[in-house]
């Protein structure tokens, strides 16, 4: 038996797939907030975030499918792929929980995405650079929105401070994975194609620390150990239940079976 999908076959495809999967899964999580937000304005904000991320997912997965060159499409990659072939980070697949946890994740991940797209906007791959340039504008807004809400919740009431702090505390264990840099990623980075994840850490820490300080929040300490890696198809249990919903219709009435959607 062959061990699971190894990423060194076609690493640039894997890299772009990972970018697309982060956007797709986080977009799905944001879409869960629809009509459940704390007020109408935040319902609208949540749908903006979902729309931006799903739009990025569509561009990135379309490109990934082309890079793979096996005739798959962005929809095929989204709706008909096994969980173990998803390459998103564990952070984005975690449940929304309350608005405090969601805000903490949004801040942590949008700073990360911002820094990553910023580098990718200068990628030697023109297509990726173009996608990243467009996404960078959107994510810059996400980062600002998240920072404002972190500061508002941190400085609002005792309860809101406690809830958003809890968000950072429980999600902190997913931080090391954001900066895991596998050999083939390093290699792509050296060719000017990708951003080496570890190269983003210092700027991420600095930006986050500054916002947390302004928000009267404590930056969690310690560094959790990685318990599995997205590059090997490892995920938390939450991806599986997310995919049950995400993929149900295509799995049931697949386009390949003649369905038209």
């Amino acid at each position: 038996m062959k061990s699971i999908y190894t990423s060194d076959e076609n690493p640039f495809f894997q890299y772009v797939l990972g970018l697309g999967d982060d956007a797709l899964i986080l977009g799905q999580r944001w879409s869960e907030w629809l009509s459940k937000g704390p007020n109408l304005e935040l319902d609208i904000a949540a749908s903006n975030l979902a729309l931006d991320l799903l739009g990025q997912a569509e561009m990135l997965l379309t490109y990934a499918a082309e890079l793979e060159g096996k005739g798959r499409t962005a929809d095929g990659l989204s709706f008909l792929r096994d969980g173990q072939d998803f390459r998103n980070h564990w952070l984005v697949e975690q449940p929304n929980d309350d608005w405090g946890v969601t805000t903490a994740r949004m801040l942590m991940f949008s700073i990360y995405q911002y820094l990553r797209y910023e580098k990718l906007a200068k990628s030697s791959d023109a297509r990726l650079a173009e996608i990243a340039t467009k996404a960078l504008k959107e994510v810059s807004y996400h980062r600002r929105f998240a920072a404002e809400w972190t500061i508002r919740l941190g400085g609002g009431t005792e309860e809101s401070n406690r809830r958003v702090q809890r968000g950072f505390d429980i999600l902190w264990r997913f931080v090391p994975e954001l900066f895991e840099t596998v050999a083939w990623e390093q290699d792509l980075a050296e060719k000017g194609l990708a951003a080496a994840s570890d190269s983003l850490r210092a700027a991420w820490d600095a930006d986050l620390s500054e916002i947390l300080a302004e928000a009267d929040l404590k930056k969690p300490e310690g560094e959790s150990r990685l318990m599995g890696s997205r590059h090997n198809g490892h995920h938390s249990e939450h991806l599986g239940t997310l995919l049950c919903e995400l993929q149900y219709l295509q799995r049931t009435y697949p386009t390949a079976g003649g369905a038209v959607w």
Binding site: L34, S35, K36, G37, S47, L51, E58, L153, L249, Y253
Partner: protein, 312 residues
């Protein structure tokens, strides 16, 4: 008395009434009730479709649906704002919805059980809403009329998207065509009831007509909707109920009697999803209370800091 006569004369002259203008209390009250009910319908209307966003079958459909639900939140916002110009705050209107005192469109108490339903809601429910609302773009109260122009424009976009979604589905498999037919069978009659009780039973109508916050009767609008919908359904290959037949003499489609007992049962809260809709709204409101409080507290702290700095 003089004020009322002048008021009516302005309306008769097709002038818009603006927030600071004189208006009879009954006019104000009727409008607040109608507009807040309309806004509530937008908000509750997010729920049946919102439940399908996570299950949309393609990225394109998912994006379209998120944008549509977002538009509904936006409509809710405009209409609440327009209603606030009459002196009732959004908080008060929302709390009347959540206490069950205020109503919303009965259509949203029907279950959305397939992807075809998502498209059918766009086609029939938004379609019926537009038929109702286009005349309101010329209603006598300025802020409402202006809100309706924007709302109608977006809703006619939603209606086309919903119809287009069904057009795709009927090109697919037998299972998909069956889903479309089933969806039509469940939504057609309730969408006709969206126009309200038959003219013979309709309260307030003549006063509202005189005030130009209603410009056509329920039955007139219903007929207009049926006449537009039947050919669209036929184009999709849908089998229409046998009661729906072309009446050469009238130049309209007949559609028989509607089940008004069902309508009134749903109004009373017996709809299949009535309890779920209110539970979902109340849960969102309760779960979000601490966020809204935090935002208020933070804004106050910012204000008092600004005041202190100004005072130094």
């Amino acid at each position: 008395e003089a004020g009322e006569a002048e008021f009516q004369a302005r309306i008769d002259a097709d002038e818009f009434i603006e927030p600071k203008d004189f208006m009879p209390e009954a006019y104000r009250k009727t409008l607040v009730r109608q507009m807040s009910q309309h806004a509530h319908s937008e908000i509750v209307g997010m729920l049946p479709e919102g439940g399908w966003v996570t299950r949309a079958p393609t990225l394109k459909r998912k994006i379209i649906l998120v944008a549509k639900v977002q538009d509904e939140a936006g409509h809710g916002l405009y209409i609440y704002s327009a209603a606030e110009t009459l002196g009732t705050s959004r908080e008060e209107m929302v709390s009347q919805l959540h206490s069950g005192k205020a109503k919303y469109s009965t259509i949203f108490n029907y279950p959305t059980t397939s992807w075809a339903d998502v498209c059918t809601i766009g086609w029939l429910v938004d379609g019926a809403a537009i038929t109702n609302q286009i005349p309101l773009c010329r209603c006598s109260y300025g802020p409402y009329a202006r809100a309706m122009i924007r709302v109608c424009k977006e809703e006619s976009f939603h209606m086309r998207q919903g119809y287009e979604g069904l057009l795709q589905m009927v090109k697919g498999t037998d299972e998909q065509r069956r889903m479309v037919q089933d969806s039509f069978d469940r939504w057609f009659w309730p969408s006709l009831m969206m126009f309200g009780p038959p003219d013979s039973d309709s309260a307030h109508s003549s006063q509202n007509m005189a005030w130009k916050i209603k410009r056509f009767s329920n039955d007139e609008l219903r007929q207009r909707f049926v006449d537009a919908t039947v050919p669209q359904a036929e184009f999709l290959g849908i089998t229409l109920p046998e009661q729906v037949v072309w009446n050469e003499e009238r130049g309209h489609y007949d559609y028989g009697d509607l089940d008004w007992d069902e309508f009134w049962a749903v109004v009373r809260g017996d709809g299949a999803c009535s309890a779920n809709r209110m539970d979902a709204r109340n849960k969102a409101l309760d779960d979000g209370a601490w966020v809204r409080e935090a935002a208020t507290a933070f804004a106050e702290k910012q204000r008092s800091r600004a005041t202190m700095i100004a005072a130094e």
